[in-house]
Amino acid sequence: MKRGNWWTRLVAELRRITGIFSSQREDRAMREEIRFHIDMHAAKLRGEGLSDAEARRRAAVAFGGASQWSEAARDEYRSRPIEEALRDTRFVVRSLRRAPIFTATVLLTLATGIGAAAAIFTVVNDVVVRPLPYGNPNELVYLSHDSPALSFYDAGFTPGMYFTYRRLAHSLQGIALFQTGSMNVTDPNGAGEPERLTSAFVSGNFMSLFQVPAALGRALTDADDRPGAPKVIVISDGLWRARFGGSPSAIGKRLIAAGGVREIVGVMPPAFRVPDANTQVWSPLQLDPAAAWLGGFNSKAYARLAPNVSIAQATRDLTATLPRAADLFPLIAPGVTAKLLFEQGKPVPTVAPLRDHVVAGIAATLWTIGAAAALVLLVMCANVANLMLVRAEGRRRELGIRIAIGAGRGRVVSYFLIESVLLAAVASALALAAAIGAVHLLVHSSPIEIPRIAEVRVDWTTIAFIVVTSLGVALTCAIPSALRAVRSGALAGLRDASRGATASAARVGARSVLVACQMALALVALMASALLSRSVERLRAVKPGFDATGVATLWVAAPQIRYAKETDVDRFHSELLTRVRAIPGVTDAGITNTLPLDPSGHNGDPLYVEGTGDAAKSIPPLQFYAAADAGYFRALKIPLIAGRLFAPLETQRWNEAVVSQETARQMFGDSTGATVIGKRFQNLPNGPMYTVIGVIGSVRDTSLMVPPTRMVYLAGVATSDSIEGQGVRTVAVVARTTGDVDATTRAIRAIVHDLDPTLPTFDTRSMADIVNLSTARPRFVLVVLGVAAAVTLLLGVVGLYGVVAFIVSLRTRELGLRIALGSTPSAVAMMVARRGLTLSAAGVVFGAALAVVATRFLRSFLFEVAPFDPEALAASVLLLVACTLAASWVPARRAARVDPALALRAE
């Protein structure tokens, strides 16, 4: 036989066996190794005196034939893992299909847990974490001022401050001023319905600051912002599509907006969502620096930091720049010097990254929901790990045989790995579908308002999250089973499975730890939702100071071009109210410019009580001012405590004021209000004097969570204008009805349309809705935590039941023996139940410690409840213990009923 043929056959044989996986390099290495071996053997034989040819022949024979060699090599050849993996995969798929309930449970658990977590992750990531979608977003900041001296925070901006920074602050590339609000919009030709549009008056550089060009036409420029420049507006993509059908001919169209004819010069792209996602119209402010005051904090400002300038550097620069405003703009308001503002108010500039400012209100809520999702995911993981252990338990025999007939440990471990990777892959696909659905639900019907929600979408980061989490979870869950299978070795499985052994610690240990962890996490979720529910209960019990049931509200604005004089406005309101009061069922109706609990904010001004010192020398603490008529108090059932209410609209005197009990107490030192009647005060040092004619009950104006604020109601709705003269001719009509609130709203709308068809009505809401909306956030968090608590508790209890029942099934023989030897059934039941209770006790101790730490993060949602609330803790522990009692009692009773004869015969 020629050697060449021999090699060729060996290599060919190896190739055939290992197929496509064989590598040329390994072939060569193997060949060389074999040649070396045979040569060495031949050399040895030669040393023993054989001829060269004979030595070679014997060495080759001793090595063995090609087929024998390669048969053995097939199993160990390097490329085998892949082939093996494929074979194992087929095996795993078969065995998973043979256990449909296990497979479905694991997949559903993983898909819901990971899907929910992925949805929350997507929202948190897109809203809180991702940079804003504008050029160099890290340079964008929100500027404001705090006045700790006047307890006035986030005061915003005044035109004087804006011009000062714009000229002198070197740390800024640009600064843009804006005021938000809404405006009536009608067509000059009278076509179409009048509309109330969300609007922003902005400085000319507003759009260039964000580096966003117009989608159509042009953006606003500094030229548009000059006083006296032609009046133009830029509209949003949404308005463009809704009102102009997305037609390019919208450019150049004219609208009557904010009391004047304005030309549309541009349409912004949908991604331009400043100052607000629902801003529909941008209009230039056209401020005149020569006529600007340093006072009037009714503007806000965005800015772009100069390159490589930090927030801290910018804050230092602005702090150094601010005092120079007093030189440029000596007066805050007519007759009030800027010196007073700086001496008394001590304003401090604040600089915040724009993204943080945008999401400031929602970040805590989203992180909390994220934590709840993570908690549920953890418990679901424990459940899946438990299921896998149970399954591995049932397959000890099979795995034992596999090990016994030669499957290596690596092989068994890889079997579990393949199973978990397969499960993870399918679970990922299901979780992705679940996440898409959940994100859609959150984006389109979230019960709370979430900024940037329009930017949220499922994308590659979501998919990456799902895949990584699924793999991580599935692998982690498989580890306990794989370790157990490997550790118990070959014959252990065979021995154990074929004989009813007593429950060994090793077999129940892992599952017990998992169940105790589940109990601990369930307690955390229970505790959190108990706290929230107590807090929401307290919120419900809060008396806001008015009666919200059966009250309809809607807004209407009387523009200057149609109602030039204040008396015209009063006549319009008077007529409107007369007709509203005539609607069947309406018992009272009134108007105001500020609704309680309305998120749009309140006006703050100081209150100088007459005869309490030099008004020009000190600024008293700020308090709220609103305008209302007498009908407003009656409609909301705000009680009159002393004095009288305003006279009817057309006869009321502008210098009369009604104050809240809180103002009477704090500013006039009399909570009964009796001595306050007739007292006089000013809201500007040189301003007009107002006389208190009545004291009414205090109202929670800003939030149910905040104690009643000091409030002054002035009579003249039409006269209480802001400094820029934008006109507070915008009022809410408030009507109490014994009938249907919605029908009343429709009737009021019809009356407004009948009185003046050019006036839109807007922000239609029942007072009850406004109150509800103000507590939407804690209630939403409560619902999320409640669901998390229910799911974790249910999974925990099921897990506990499983472990206890498993113990009973393992110890049936022993329990039978005990009963046969005279143990009472109740003693046996107790013994079993004690196992369950021990587990839950361990969970409770661990969980309570965890809950004490975790609930601290809920502080911002809690109202009149401390994060560590013994009652909530006690209630949670009791509920958990009750559930675990039930879960251990059922298998314990079964244990007590074991028939000794049957148990022994089962052997």
Partner: protein
């Protein structure tokens, strides 16, 4: 690695143990392993080459031995195998297991018939 149970896969396990032992002194090529086992067993054990190389590959894949190409004293290229730390531990474990097993077998076989 958990302790092994040599009773489960006796033959294969024995060969593995012998190979690990042979490599515990110094790195060796396949031929050297055969020769060493042959010598140490006072020529009573002869390793079949047909199972030697598959065993070497298997041990390598399990991470108990590593291999590298080196030159022999006679200036030939050969694949040398050496024991890894994991292999050393495995050898110790297998040796303990083997001692237990062989003691047990001795006791059983040494039993006098009553």
């Amino acid at each position: 690695m958990p302790q092994s149970d040599p009773s489960g896969d006796m033959i294969q396990g024995m060969l593995d143990m012998l190979i690990l032992k042979a490599l515990s002194l110094e790195p060796m090529h396949g031929w050297g392993v055969t020769e060493r086992i042959h010598q140490w067993s006072k020529e009573s054990l002869a390793v079949n080459q047909g199972s030697l190389y598959p065993a070497l590959y298997r041990l390598k894949r399990q991470g108990w031995i590593a291999s590298e190409w080196r030159t022999t004293e006679n200036n030939r290229r050969a694949r040398y195998y050496s024991l890894t730390a994991a292999g050393r531990r495995q050898l110790a474990a297998e040796q303990r297991g083997w001692e237990r097993l062989s003691r047990g077998i001795e006791l059983v076989l040494g039993m006098e018939q009553p």
